[in-house]
């Protein structure tokens, strides 16, 4: 894995008395204290974060938490007061904070593209002229530019609209133009500043799905700012939560939901449906945590209703439920199978918690076994495990 963007102790302060503000930041002063004493606005303090190539790294927080401020440091739309922001450029890392204007310009033209909340389209230009804007600035020859623009138009499904003016389009379509403009530069790093916040919920969901589809094909590195945790959990491979200009927690979506670092994060996730994030892996008990019953038998649940007999390679050779022999069936068939008290479902660790719960419901609350790719038994999920994960207790 290569690092695409790395923030190292980034402080961003707006206003005149920066030196004194930085001093206060070093002593751990809050934004309000800094503002009251120096009149300077703390944008972000001590932010360190590494974004790997191909990741979608989401910066999350309430408005004013410094998430956009940090994002905009990557292409120096915001000037960093202290610290460095390293951006991958070909075979080297460039410090955006100290690099000269020519380097910065080439970085902006070829390495880092941006999508804006209010779209940032130019209303006197047609859709295709807007998409070609970045290429025009970079001096890409006309013929090549037209071809790349045509490709992008097809990619975002706007071929029919290429000659329209940006303001004649709906919000959703305008943001597609914004996306296409960013993709057209073929920059490997994409900055997205609340790109879908200005859209209505249906269009937002649709564009999120489209972004994920495009990302599966294009494999960009995306830094995405959002104030919507559902959105963050849906599209993020890592999530960074910010509060008052400081990073509170960085982790995978499951980390954030299962191990919130403090009350601020806990408040954030309070209204999130854990079923949309958690997988069997997050809630299972490992094989060694389960009760063993001799002769290769393992109890799958604490209530001791169901047990599997394993051979030396951990393959299941027999199953028993409430004292009677039972079948073990894959979870992927759960939708089709009738409800049946004599079967026990198994799932792979990547299966969503929702499917696991459905399997439990269909098998009259039997535990669900977990197999790895070689069909070896690795652990199980009892009803107790599911409840505690859902209730977060």
């Amino acid at each position: 894995m290569t690092v695409a963007v790395e923030f190292r102790n980034v402080d961003i302060v707006f206003g005149k008395d920066r030196a004194r503000a930085l001093e206060m930041i070093d002593r751990g002063a809050s934004r309000d204290e800094v503002l009251a004493r120096t009149g300077a606005v703390l944008g972000c303090a001590g932010a360190s974060l590494t974004v790997q190539e191909g990741d979608i790294s989401v910066l999350m927080g309430l408005s004013g938490s410094g998430k956009s401020t940090l994002l905009r440091a990557v292409n120096r739309l915001n000037v960093v007061s202290r610290g460095s922001v390293m951006v991958h450029d070909g075979d080297r890392m460039v410090d955006v904070v100290t690099c000269d204007d020519a380097t910065l310009r080439s970085l902006r033209q070829k390495q880092v593209a941006m999508v804006f909340q209010q779209f940032g389209l130019l209303p006197w230009r047609t859709v295709e002229e807007n998409i070609g804007f970045g290429l025009e600035l970079a001096g890409v020859p006309d013929a090549e530019r037209r071809e790349r623009v045509a490709n992008q138009l097809r990619l975002v499904g706007l071929d029919q609209w290429s000659k329209k003016y940006a303001h004649e389009l709906s919000g959703g379509m305008q943001q597609r133009v914004g996306l296409a403009r960013a993709f057209a530069t073929e920059a490997p790093i994409l900055l997205m500043d609340e790109p879908f916040s200005a859209l209505d919920p249906l269009i937002r969901t649709k564009l999120q799905d489209e972004l994920l589809q495009l990302q599966a094909k294009l494999k960009k590195t995306i830094i995405f700012v959002s104030h919507d945790l559902e959105e963050a959990l849906k599209i993020g491979t890592t999530i960074t939560i910010m509060e008052g200009g400081r990073i509170v927690q960085t982790g995978t979506p499951e980390d954030i939901v299962l191990q919130p670092a403090n009350d601020y994060v806990r408040d954030f996730i309070a209204n999130v449906n854990p079923l949309s994030v958690l997988t069997a892996w997050n809630v299972m008990r490992m094989k060694h945590e389960l009760a063993h019953d001799g002769d290769g038998w393992v109890w799958l649940d604490r209530r001791a209703t169901t047990r599997f007999r394993l051979d030396a390679q951990d393959l299941v050779i027999a199953a028993e439920r409430s004292g009677r022999p039972a079948d073990w069936v894959s979870c992927s068939d759960v939708e089709r199978l009738p409800e049946n008290g004599s079967q026990v479902f198994w799932a792979t660790p990547g299966t969503s918690l929702k499917t696991v719960m459905l399997a439990m419901q269909r098998s009259q609350t039997a535990p669900v076994a977990l197999f790895d790719e070689q069909s070896r038994f690795v652990g199980s999920i009892g009803i107790q495990d599911v409840l505690s994960a859902v209730l977060r207790r």
Binding site: R105, S106, M114, G120, L122, W124
Partner: protein, 284 residues
């Protein structure tokens, strides 16, 4: 008089004397410079006037009507322009009208050529604008007759001083409106330009100027109207045109002549205003 006021009045600061010394200095040392400007301006404007007067008036009317159609894509306007100009020919004011048109168009072109770059510069230079602002206020509020005198001394009589006085009076409009247009370009547009790696020059030509264009065009329209309002005053320092019959009418209390010339000025004003408006609609 009370003693304090008497004390204040006892020594008059010779502002007027200083002004005169300054202009005497300019005329004695830089006469060649001001003469050259006056000759150049006169030559350009007079050639244009000669050309337009050499053409048959009907041809000129049709050309202007065609231009009106080309600018606004409106048959109605083209016909109205032709009728208005025909009325002027009918009133026997064609020569004066041509002279006025050339003066107004020339003054507007000069004002825009000076005003737009200054406006752009001021928009990028906050301190510069703060210095510029009182100068613009002075140019617009100082009674025109006051600077007629030095302009007359420096440039003599004729069409050149008329143009210069008009430019002094009219150019603050394009400066202010260009400044306004460029400083009010929405931030997201500027950031889009910066984020995709625009140079300062690209940002100006591809983002700021197109975004400010409607406001700059409003400046153009204003500039034309301000120039036209100077026609009578320009006539006082020897510029030919529709101002001449107005001044003559005033001096001889000649109501018919004043009415005819005044109507002609109004017609020219309406024609120029309608022609220079920014067309609204999908295709900007």
């Amino acid at each position: 008089m009370d003693p304090v006021s008497a004390l204040i009045a006892s020594f008059k600061i010779p502002v007027g004397q200083w002004g005169r010394s300054f202009f005497t200095f300019l005329t004695t040392n830089f006469e060649w410079f001001f003469d050259a400007i006056a000759d150049g301006v006169t030559w350009v404007l007079q050639s244009l006037i000669d050309l337009l007067l050499w053409l048959p008036p009907v041809v000129v009317v049709l050309l202007i009507a065609a231009l009106a159609w080309w600018l606004q894509r409106s048959w109605k306007l083209a016909v109205a322009v032709a009728i208005g100009l025909a009325f002027i020919i009918n009133q026997g004011l064609w020569k004066d009208t041509v002279e006025t048109l050339v003066l107004v168009v020339g003054a507007t072109a000069a004002s825009m050529a000076i005003g737009v770059p200054i406006g752009i510069w001021a928009a990028h230079n906050e301190r510069g604008y703060r210095i510029l602002q009182p100068v613009l206020d002075l140019m617009q509020t100082m009674p025109t007759f006051v600077y007629l005198i030095p302009v007359l001394i420096l440039f003599g009589l004729g069409i050149a001083p008329g143009l210069i006085v008009t430019v002094i009076f009219a150019s603050p409009a394009p400066i202010r409106l260009t400044y306004l247009g460029i400083t009010s370009v929405p931030k997201p547009m500027l950031e889009a330009g910066e984020a995709f790696g625009a140079t300062k020059r690209q940002l100006l030509w591809k983002v700021e100027l197109p975004a400010a264009m409607p406001t700059i065009m409003a400046g153009l329209t204003q500039c034309i109207m301000l120039s036209l309002s100077m026609v009578v005053i320009a006539a006082l320092i020897g510029a030919n045109g529709l101002g001449k019959p107005v001044v003559r009418a005033l001096n001889s209390v000649n109501i018919p002549l004043g009415l005819e010339a005044g109507l002609a000025i109004v017609i020219i004003a309406i024609i120029l205003d309608r022609m220079s408006r920014v067309r609204t609609g999908a295709s900007r």
